[in-house]
């Protein structure tokens, strides 16, 4: 009911007609949307999620009754500050290129003794059931605020992942002929009223990547970058890649690589 479905156009068009006669001093749609976003920015519910993540990080949990404080996110055991901004990266211990989320899950398995299934059982929140992973990633992300994204993909394994990410970015298929590139390779375009970043540029990729994890008001929860990308792929009408799969991490390497140099500012707040 509250989430009124699609009959909107007719309604909106009608109401616009009315509004035009009622109030001559209407703002431009783009200005009004900016105002809407400004009003949202002051008071991001993700701040509460971040606090919960910090608690979870420090709490001894799992079969090994250990906290995550010794987790190596790429800058050494226990170093959280600035780590998110330099992920994904290649990890020798696992022999894989890992993003913040796959590395976090790795630590939940190795340090806390969870199985992978247990660790990722609830990788995103549902109404009434908050996700621990989401909270932890929000905490980790915020500890990179003020730091520039730096994913140079110099290691051969990272370079290969960047190439794979680029390949997937341009790969068209499905009943709408979509690829990521369909919406995200031009400057200054909109889908409906939503600006689309040109993700092949530092500015476009940076604007997107610096603000995740982000609270999405349409979903009423924080979305991690994994969630963001998996849902983009759902919107492209493809089957979903698995959580933490290489396709998603490869896209992240590509996007973080393109965004490198942009200063982190999380958690964001989005439509």
């Amino acid at each position: 009911m509250m989430r009124t479905k699609m009959r909107l156009l007719a309604g909106v068009a009608l109401c616009l007609g009315l509004a035009a006669t009622q109030a001559g001093a209407e703002g431009k749609p783009s200005d009004e949307i900016s105002k809407y976003r400004e009003m949202l920015a002051d008071g991001n519910p993700a701040d509460l999620v971040e606090l919960r993540g910090e608690e979870l990080w420090k709490t001894a949990r799992g079969p090994k009754k250990a906290s995550l404080e010794k987790c190596d996110l790429g800058l050494g055991p226990g170093v959280v500050d600035g780590a998110y901004a330099q992920l994904p990266r290649y990890f020798k211990d696992s022999g894989k290129v890992m993003d913040a989320e796959s590395r976090l899950v790795h630590c939940m398995i190795t340090l806390q003794g969870f199985t992978k299934e247990e660790a990722i059982k609830q990788w995103f929140s549902k109404p009434g059931k908050d996700s621990d992973i989401e909270a932890l990633v929000t905490f980790i992300g915020a500890r990179s605020n003020g730091k520039p994204i730096h994913v140079p993909h110099k290691d051969p394994k990272e370079a290969a992942m960047y190439k794979t990410g680029e390949y997937i970015f341009y790969r068209r298929s499905g009943p709408q002929d979509f690829s990521c590139a369909t919406c995200h390779t031009s400057n200054g375009m909109r889908i409906r009223l939503q600006e689309l970043g040109n993700l092949t540029t530092r500015e476009g990729a940076g604007t997107a990547m610096k603000s995740f994890p982000a609270y999405r008001v349409s979903q009423g929860s924080v979305w991690t970058m994994q969630h963001r990308l998996i849902d983009c792929i759902r919107q492209a009408r493809w089957p979903e890649p698995e959580y933490l799969s290489d396709a998603v991490i490869a896209l992240e390497v590509y996007l973080q690589g393109n965004a490198s140099g942009t200063v982190m500012e999380t958690p964001g707040i989005k439509r």
Binding site: R3, C15, G27, Y36, R192
Partner: protein, 155 residues
């Protein structure tokens, strides 16, 4: 005290009664909380909300200001601020005309409060929102239309 009593009586059984009672120290906030009828929240039209609150037609006033964008990208979260420049503002309420239950929130203000409140509400569709204010025992209002648009991929 006499003057205050009259004010209380004038306010009637509606929105401002509790704050008025609280202001003169006749009841505590806890009592006020328990005493506020939920009926107004169940009302299905603005008129019925007014009836439940004991409000006759409020006077439109440019001293009541709604601070909100004309367009909201998502109806699940619509930020709305209400400010009253009227002296002795005792209560503020927000109504969303086309929601199933128009009354979204009401606030009884004590002397310490500035009549300037911001909140976020759900709107099922494009609608007028009404800011209802009780000041000095009288009711005033402001109205603004907020359009709920579709953002993103639309799926």
């Amino acid at each position: 005290m006499n003057k205050d009593r009259r004010k209380v009586l004038k306010a009637g059984a509606g929105l401002g009664l509790l704050s008025a009672l609280m202001a003169v120290g006749m009841i505590s906030p806890q009592q006020a909380q328990a005493a506020i009828g939920r009926g107004a929240f169940d009302a299905k039209t603005i008129d019925d909300v007014y009836k439940a609150l004991g409000v006759a037609a409020p006077t439109a006033s440019d001293q009541v200001v709604i601070n909100a964008s004309d367009i909201a990208e998502n109806g699940a979260v619509v930020p709305i601020g209400i400010r009253s420049n009227l002296p002795n503002t005792q209560a503020i309420a927000l109504l969303v005309e086309r929601n199933p239950n128009p009354l979204a929130a009401h606030y009884d203000l004590t002397d310490m409060a500035v009549a300037d409140i911001t909140m976020r509400v759900k709107m099922g569709q494009t609608s007028n929102v009404v800011a209802l204010v009780m000041a000095d025992g009288k009711f005033f209002s402001a109205t603004k239309e907020i359009k709920i648009t579709l953002g993103g991929c639309g799926g």
